[in-house]
């Protein structure tokens, strides 16, 4: 049963269509990510859901209610902005209280609710600080707490972590996911970082130029990219033409599509049954932490292959390497 339904949403700015009749359907308690390159319309879609932008066409239903014409303040959504948008004149406590005061809750329940979320986002002891006295990560957690405390039906997050450095970002991703699961909060995250999307989501919508390019679970998207755009966007896929594929395998049977994709880690050093055997010249070898990336060449076709890094790596001296590939790892694209 769909909790948040977006039907045929269209939006143009200055005669340029930014959202092309999009359809999304999100279940209650689901963590959904909108993933796509800069300018593809992710923020516009999110802001439309929040009611900050009015769509030209289409409808939005939240929890069975048509909210297309409902003002942002009455939509019962929460939103965390990339720039945090904390109120500089208020302390952490006052920032978090704001939404509850607007709801006119009584003092006692405001106090309890605020204390609970402050604990949830691990900001105990910072209640009296002003936003400018906090680190970026702490500010972002205040922003999150401020949205969570009103118990919105849908939580919208517009690149909430992109201004933070890698370490804090990873931690906050985990924290965000566990809080979301604890509260069973329907959440939409906007990001252009595919690793982040894979790490936290139940479901991913990949957007490109105002269209949904593909949607599915992280596993589906990663293992079965539907188009060249998705394959290139979500990782380091080798994207090869039909000609390159037949050169690579010395085999042109069965490859009738124009374009194919192969994951770099699909190549293995151990023989696979009924698969391809490829011996390639090593052009370059790069260490990427726990994996080693080979740039290889076979019959004038260049591709990359990733391997888990092994201590006794001696390929420095090797000129060629023999790899094996399962036939089903050659994915045809549209």
């Amino acid at each position: 049963m769909s909790f948040l339904t977006i039907e045929k949403i269209k939006k143009s700015f200055n005669n340029e269509t930014v959202l092309h009749h999009l359809n999304l359907s999100i279940k209650e308690g689901e963590f959904v990510t909108l993933l796509g390159p800069s300018g593809c319309g992710k923020s516009t879609l999110l802001r439309t859901i929040a009611g900050l932008i009015h769509p030209d066409e289409g409808t939005i239903h939240i929890d069975g209610k048509n909210v297309t014409e409902v003002k942002p303040k009455d939509r019962q959504v929460g939103m965390v902005f990339q720039s945090y948008a904390l109120f500089p004149n208020m302390t952490v406590q006052e920032n978090i209280e704001f939404g509850l005061k607007m709801k006119k809750l009584d003092k006692e329940s405001i106090k309890q609710n605020v204390a609970r979320v402050i604990e949830l986002v691990e900001l105990t002891g910072k209640e009296r600080s002003y936003p400018r006295e906090l680190s970026g990560g702490q500010q972002q957690r205040v922003a999150l707490a401020r949205s969570l405390v009103t118990q919105p039906k849908v939580l919208l997050l517009d690149e909430p972590l992109s201004a933070l450095d890698a370490q804090i970002r990873k931690n906050l991703q985990k924290q965000l996911r566990s809080i979301q699961q604890e509260l069973n909060m329907t959440t939409i995250l906007v990001t252009h970082d595919q690793e982040e999307a894979m790490a936290v989501s139940d479901y991913i919508y990949i957007m490109n130029k105002g269209h949904i390019a593909q949607s599915g679970s992280p596993h589906e998207i990663y293992t079965r990219p539907a188009s060249e755009f998705v394959a290139r966007f979500i990782g380091n896929y080798n994207v090869l033409s039909r000609k390159e594929i037949s050169n690579l395998f010395n085999d042109d049977n069965g490859y009738t599509r124009d374009i194919y994709a192969i994951r770099p880690e699909a190549f293995s050093e151990a023989p696979v049954k009924d698969g391809y055997e490829i011996t390639g010249k090593i052009q370059k070898m790069t260490m990427l932490g726990n994996i080693t990336r080979y740039e290889l060449e076979v019959n004038n076709v260049c591709f990359i292959a990733d391997h888990l890094h092994k201590i006794e790596e001696d390929s420095q001296k090797r000129e060629t390497i023999t790899l094996y590939l399962n036939r089903k790892d050659v994915i045809s694209l549209t």
Partner: protein, 259 residues
């Protein structure tokens, strides 16, 4: 070395040029008489006592305060929300505000005064009110700049959106979130506007003149009667403006620290 020597000389000359008249005025307001000597012949508080003993001076001071404060407060209440709404919700109208800003500079006071007299002298509206109206427009540039910069600094648009999503109406969001954050910037513009209006002479003299004697008009009349008293007025005025400037500078500093 040489360079800095010339530096000091030039700066020294400029400072002297600016300070000597002030110093002269200051001394003159305390002098018993000062005609043929280099320095005053004797010092006295007589002129100040006379000045503050004159009910006309105190009344004119009151009128000046009412007029300048009134116009400034009116601007605060009407102009700030208007500029806020235009910048956030009708950015296309901002061009009109900008041309209004330029026009207030382009229009010389005399022409403005003549125009206003022609338009309103027979309308039955009190010319004092007309003056306040003219002042209102006159300080538009300062209020516009001050408000706009403050709004930019705090990223007002996103703050409004955040507040609205949290359930606040636009009015509540403006009062609770925007106003406290632009307050110091707006106070600085208000003080500036106030001190400009407080020293305004052309419009008030032409539009109402003796009917509504302000400090500037009083000063003008005293000039022909007693140079000492006129000097005392100027000194008081200067002290007031210095205090206002000090407050403004302090507030601007504080604002920078908090950002």
């Amino acid at each position: 070395m040489k360079k800095s020597f010339y530096h000091y000389i030039t700066i020294g000359i400029v400072v002297l040029y600016l300070l000597i008249p002030l110093l002269g005025t200051f001394l003159y307001s305390f002098a018993t008489s000062w005609h043929k000597t280099i320095l005053p012949e004797g010092l006295t508080f007589k002129w100040y006592i006379e000045l503050f003993g004159d009910i006309r001076f105190l009344e004119s001071l009151g009128r000046s305060l009412i007029l300048s404060l009134g116009a400034t407060i009116l601007t605060l209440i009407i102009m700030v929300p208007a500029i806020f709404s235009i910048i956030l919700y009708a950015p296309k109208l901002e061009k009109i505000v900008q041309s209004l800003v330029v026009m207030t500079y382009a229009m010389p006071g005399i022409i403005l005064a003549v125009g206003l007299i022609r338009a309103y002298s027979t309308s039955g509206v009190s010319m004092v009110l007309i003056t306040i109206g003219a002042y209102f427009v006159g300080i538009l540039p300062y209020m516009y700049q001050g408000t706009r910069n403050s709004l930019r600094n705090i990223n007002a648009e996103t703050l409004m959106e955040a507040a609205e999503i949290l359930g606040a109406s636009r009015y509540t969001a403006f009062i609770k979130v925007i106003v406290p954050n632009i307050m110091s910037g707006i106070l600085v513009s208000s003080l500036l506007s106030f001190s400009i209006l407080f020293g305004e002479f052309v419009l008030i003299n032409l539009l109402v003149g003796g009917h509504f004697e302000t400090v500037q008009i009083y000063l003008y009349q005293k000039l022909s009667q007693s140079g000492h008293i006129a000097s005392a007025i100027v000194v008081c005025y200067f002290i007031l403006i210095s205090i206002l400037s000090a407050v403004m500078i302090k507030m601007t500093r504080q604002k920078k620290e908090t950002i």
